[in-house]
Symmetry: D2
Subunit: 371 residues, 4 copies
């Protein structure tokens, strides 16, 4: 087995998410960043290469050049990862697949649902591995929830409450990271709903194994002058009749990244929150409350396969992110990667964003979620 | 100053809330339980008197008798407290007021909005003190929130999330406490919304000082065979434009009494939860997070006036409840009691229940909340 | 059954602990405060009676008068409670017993070990009920620990860590409550060790059912100019060989009343803390962690008998204190009160204080704890 | 700038700590693992190379060979890292330094104090960079404590409580990781005190900037048949007169890796715990309690320089470990690395272990801590 070689698209100077992808991809040493189009400005791309400590020769100024050059090398990249603003996801992934490279992509899948449908077709036709970094599905205890729920630990599911409070966009003057996220041209039609609401939607479906079939959305741009939504509430129904509530906000001052989920069935309940990711609370039917901790002997196969340290040695966001890349590396090697989010989940996420934005704008009440 | 004498209506053998009212009323020694119609069955009423350790002569089998007998005594009751199921609130309070007795009442005000309107008229006409035990307004740190928000600590309010998760009605077979709460004849049209949703609604208005003007309700009876709702989500708009979300449920297995509230303004945020009532988290505009603890020197007048022990000596539910009775005792003595919830709040609560139940049943979308 | 009538000794204007005893004694309506020597100044004693809302005629200026007067009344007191500074415990309890009145007393038993030995003899000779308010033994979940450990839940005990951090004496200038506590004449030889260290010692023995046989003490007066210790560490050995560590401090700035205890045996561990008293963490031998909550169905008889509200309705310090008075009331009525702390525990507490103070002063290393 | 090349000594199949060092060293891409003597068995060493995905040619079966071979390569290693059991630290570091290679080493410095003294001389003479992975000094909020305390945030320090509870050695039958740790031949004279007690000692000195001058130790082998201590309590005095208590245990069933520290000065207090490493509680002199969170704008330079993600994206144990390697890489590049623990801290740690073990064995009471 050798390390897989990765080329990055995006992630230039100042971007927060580029280094995160780099660390995550390399953490388990199965993948190595070796090339990139870090910026469409060749000089800035080379500056990024310096920061990443990779060969400056392999810092390209445009995608076509990278794909061609890397294809020609014996030690060329094995796949690309796309970490650009949303509007570049479609063209980047398309080009990579066309050149024969598997692709990982930051979420959401694309900027619009139409683009997502197009990309879904392209991916299916290409028959190449494609994955989406829905980061929170990478946490071991999130996978434990999924595994236990699938095994019937809660009985029939009845209720899901998934929240994603943040406060960093509570003021009009935003920094570098905010810039493209509040611009419809680059982010797409969804602001908060596309940036973090879609994480919450994905987490709810991932954990429960149930699909959302209907929703009622209430989105708003709370900060004066903002074009895209920064606060969202969505009521949901799952296929089995379970009820869901999704709260996402970027104007809740003081909240950092408080993503969390609670799931209740007829026989029990579970709750987990991202800011304390190494513990999972489980309420059993007999009234007992169990505190499951990362590393516990009672954990199932999914969690154990994605934990690196003994209990009490906290793993966090980067390790969760790295677990997504391990899934992708496994896929590239021809193994199973049941937890990896791909075309279907990406498309569902875009349908969620699109449906929520439209339904909220027209106060349409309950609407179906269709792809 | 002498202790005020209280007569209880309801609270017979097996009722949870009767002893709670007794303890709360007497905790600060300003009030004493001396009489009661604990049950409409005279024998059971006397049995309750034995449990309460009060004079069995003053355990009555019907309200009219108590009111007449106590009126005739020199050491007769000063006021009544009504702790019956909801459908008895109206007749009990009416009779008491008619006999010249001020009245405290358990929430919600009545079983229906029409009854509440009637009672509001009766109270206003009687000109006698009337209070409602919206218990959670009694917590010192809830009052601290109210005081700080009123003083502008958060700037313009933007967002309120108020939750009240419980799990005790997650199974069809319910115990004594549940019996009347799931029966429309005695509880009124609201199940979960009337039992705990109205607490959450009241808490949101109490803390923010803002009135809800519109709402969108999604209620359901999740447990098969149940007639009244046991799970509720309500989207809200406040008079100043702030957005609110209210979640209440009685089928979230393992949740006990997880009432909590988060409020965000343009300049900060606050959060509090009932199960750890002695701490309040405040997010300041400059990024600092402050942990305010019961008993802290920084607390305002409202909280200080309703705290009995030094910091670190936890006060809880009974002390919060007792604070409501202190408010009522103060009112009876002619003092101010700005935090006491009365006719207006009671009526608003009933309008909330009624509006939510009707709007949900018809999937009416957004509707106005009017009295 | 009628309410027992209590006379208070101490608890005059400005004392924190007097009202706490009053509330605790009366909370369950089994006891009523009817008389008191609240101060040795008759005017101040009457002022206290006004605050307590009791008959001013029964506010006495000296103990002998109260005992005589109350004995003469048909509705006279049934017992006394002593809430004075430590140096008055012995004479007060002695006088009460001599007059035929059972006595409750604040801890520690007396100001000195010699006094305690004297009082132990007096109590045993009198044959009257005597109890000590080691408050923390009143918490339901503390009793649950005791019950489970006694039933062998942890196997052979190995280790106890009991802590009691406070910060309120971190500055030289102390308020009213501090005044007598830092004065050897009134507090006795122990400062922090006598005020809170003895609580921790008592809690450790109460919870484990094991007696401390040896100790090594390290006490200091950290704040310049202070005569008595304000910071203590004590290493301990229990009769079965288990090891213990006791930390108590009053100079840990910002700590309020952080009393807590962790107990480990060969098969499990438990931990509880006073500031969040309604939850108990239990580590089982098989690696599972259980979160036991006040009101849970799994609780044993001791906890259930001393809980007033359903789970999720927090009870706190006053309710724990009230549980001690319920024990005492039960004893007065001829029932069992296995959790009530009395002569033996009082004497052991004084031996602990005395031994620790002397051993620390002489750097004596390990010494036996003997009565 | 290019990536530094690292050779590992130890970390063969089954070792927990080898992969941790690999991940930590590489996380920020400043260092790359390229060679190793992963085992003294050449076959096992190559098996490890396969797991690490490094060139099998560079998996050596003995140290001398690696040092010679790597020295001869143009792309040879820049430094070694020693992750063997304690008794191999001295020979490994000595050989590396003798061959001209800087060395990182797992803690404790050596197996015995005599070895540490020898190694200190060797390091000083060699004049090459040498660092110790006292992991917990790598946490950003630990460095924040250090920075704030050094700046006088707490005034004169008075009290330190540092704890390190674990439960994994509570049974006699231990697994792979335990094997050498309970064997005096390989671990040295200290068991728990050398494995985790020394971490707690180091953390206390690191955070406070104060040196321990005297101590009183109480160590025991609690589990029957164990040769080395598995439970330790140490009383300490710091140079400025501050009092310290250190608790470390490996038999506290259910505890995972509960390392934590509380520091109090005349003007404030701070507390932090490793299992929730992204928050730091600060008690201010004016009574306010501040919750500092990783990523907060208020953080000082040390913390900011070692944080990779925005607030709310939890970093954990691996990131803290990586921060130590960043310090070492900085040192190799000629930059400052004020937080890196080296010869002095290593020697102090060994003196602590040695003094505690001897003082406890002889019940010597208070003894000086001298190097």
């Amino acid at each position: 087995m050798r390390r897989l070689r990765m080329g990055m698209i995006g992630g230039g100077p100042g971007a927060f998410i580029g280094p995160v992808h780099r660390i995550a991809a390399e953490l388990d040493r199965e993948i190595e960043l070796v090339a990139g189009v870090f910026s469409s400005d060749a000089g800035r791309s080379r500056a990024a290469a310096d920061q990443y400590l990779i060969d400056p020769e392999r810092a390209y100024g445009d995608l076509a050049t990278m794909l061609a050059a890397e294809k020609a090398r014996e030690d060329g990249i094995d796949f690309v990862t796309v970490v650009t603003p949303n509007h570049n996801h479609l063209p980047s992934v398309k080009a990579a697949l066309a050149a024969g490279f598997p692709a990982m992509s930051d979420k959401p899948m694309t900027a619009t649902l139409d683009e997502a449908r197009e990309l879904a077709g392209v991916v299916r036709e290409a028959g190449l591995p494609y994955g989406l970094t829905f980061t929170y599905t990478g946490y071991p205890l999130v996978r434990e929830m999924r595994e236990r729920i699938a095994a019937g630990a809660l009985g029939t599911l009845r209720k899901v409450v998934v929240e994603y409070p943040q406060g960093w966009l509570s003021q009009p003057a935003e920094g570098k990271q905010a810039e493209w996220r509040v611009d419809p041209e680059r982010a797409g039609a969804g602001g908060c709903i596309g940036d973090i609401g879609v994480h919450a939607f994905n987490l709810a479906e991932f954990v429960t194994g149930q699909k959302v079939t209907r929703l009622l959305a209430d989105l708003a741009a709370v900060v004066p002058g903002r074009q895209l939504d920064d606060d969202c509430t969505v009521l949901m129904r799952f296929a089995n009749g379970a009820r869901g509530v999704l709260l996402a906000s970027q104007i809740e001052v003081g909240e950092l990244n408080g993503h969390r989920i609670r799931v209740y069935g007829e026989n029990g309940g579970m709750s987990w929150k991202q800011e304390e990711p190494n513990r999972l609370t489980i309420h059993h039917a007999d009234g007992r409350t169990e505190l499951v901790r990362a590393g516990d002997a009672s954990l199932g196969g999914l969690a154990r396969a994605r934990t690196r340290t003994p209990g009490g040695h906290p793993e966090g966001y980067l390790e969760a992110f790295a677990n997504i890349y391990r899934d992708f590396a496994a896929l590239l090697r021809g193994e199973q990667a049941e937890c990896l989010q791909g075309v279907e989940e990406g498309l569902r996420g875009m349908a969620f964003i699109d449906t929520a934005v439209r339904a909220s704008a027209t106060e349409a009440g309950w609407v179906d979620l269709t792809l």
